[in-house]
Amino acid sequence: MQIGTGHYLVLSTALLLIGTLGVLTRRNIVIILMSIELILNAVNLNLIAFSRHYGHVTGQIFAIFVITAAVAEAAVGLGILIALFRNKGTVLADEIDLLKW
């Protein structure tokens, strides 16, 4: 059986949806950040599947840039999490409601 680009697209759709579900339903900010990593991995899988399909290396270059953005996002996000925990003493996303009224 031949594994084509479509197989990879369906897999990356499933990974994207699992990540989205994690972002939308979890209360713990650490796990929300992990779900964002899952979403970015789904994007990379898509980019590399099309890079393979077209026989062109550009998709892999863009995947490298996506990984760079993911590293920056994780570093800043976890820094914000530490600052938040020092000031509010909680890591649950729905207890941080200063801007709500």
Partner: protein, 168 residues
């Protein structure tokens, strides 16, 4: 045939790891399952002949980002958070939205092959190695984005140092 076996085993590893990541109560368990999921994705990269991305995935994601995550999990006290309920009140709505988006994307994937025909897969034209091809493209066509990415990383370093300061 051997391709299919590897694809389905790596896909199972990726999806099972992802599902367990978002359902575990303890954040450390979530991080370990996320590592399993990222390893599955790395295997898929290898299957797609993206060897450089495979190495980058292992070194940067599993070696870098996951160590950062585990470090922060140890630094921040998550014991109280683990005792509370792990899902917020809107989870049925979120599940419905995710299912709707998934149905939409799968519908397009199933039906759209006629509306948006892809060209036939290109033959493997790697006369040079994968890493060499990436390097040639990255340092000639994408030199400016490469330099901008270094500025992005500098901003991230400064931002995380400022955020982790004692008084903010």
């Amino acid at each position: 045939m051997i391709d299919a076996i590897f694809f389905y085993s790596f896909a199972l590893m990726t999806l099972a790891g992802a599902v367990l990541t978002i359902t575990r109560r303890s954040a450390v368990h979530s991080a370990i399952w996320l590592i399993v999921s990222l390893l599955g994705v790395a295997g898929l990269y290898l299957l797609m002949h993206a060897e450089f991305l495979f190495a980058t995935q292992i070194v940067l994601y599993i070696g870098g980002i996951m160590v950062l995550f585990l470090f922060v999990i140890m630094l921040v006290n998550l014991d109280e958070a683990a005792k509370e309920s792990q899902f917020n009140k809107q989870w049925p709505l979120a599940l419905a939205c995710a299912v709707a988006v998934g149905a939409e994307i799968l519908f397009i994937l199933a039906k759209g092959s006629k509306a948006f025909p892809l060209p036939a897969p290109a033959a493997n034209l790697d006369t040079v190695g994968n890493t060499e091809a990436i390097a040639i493209s990255l340092f000639s066509d994408y030199l400016l984005p490469f330099e901008v990415a270094s500025i992005l990383l500098l901003v991230a370093i400064v931002g995380s140092v400022v955020m982790a300061k004692k008084r903010i």
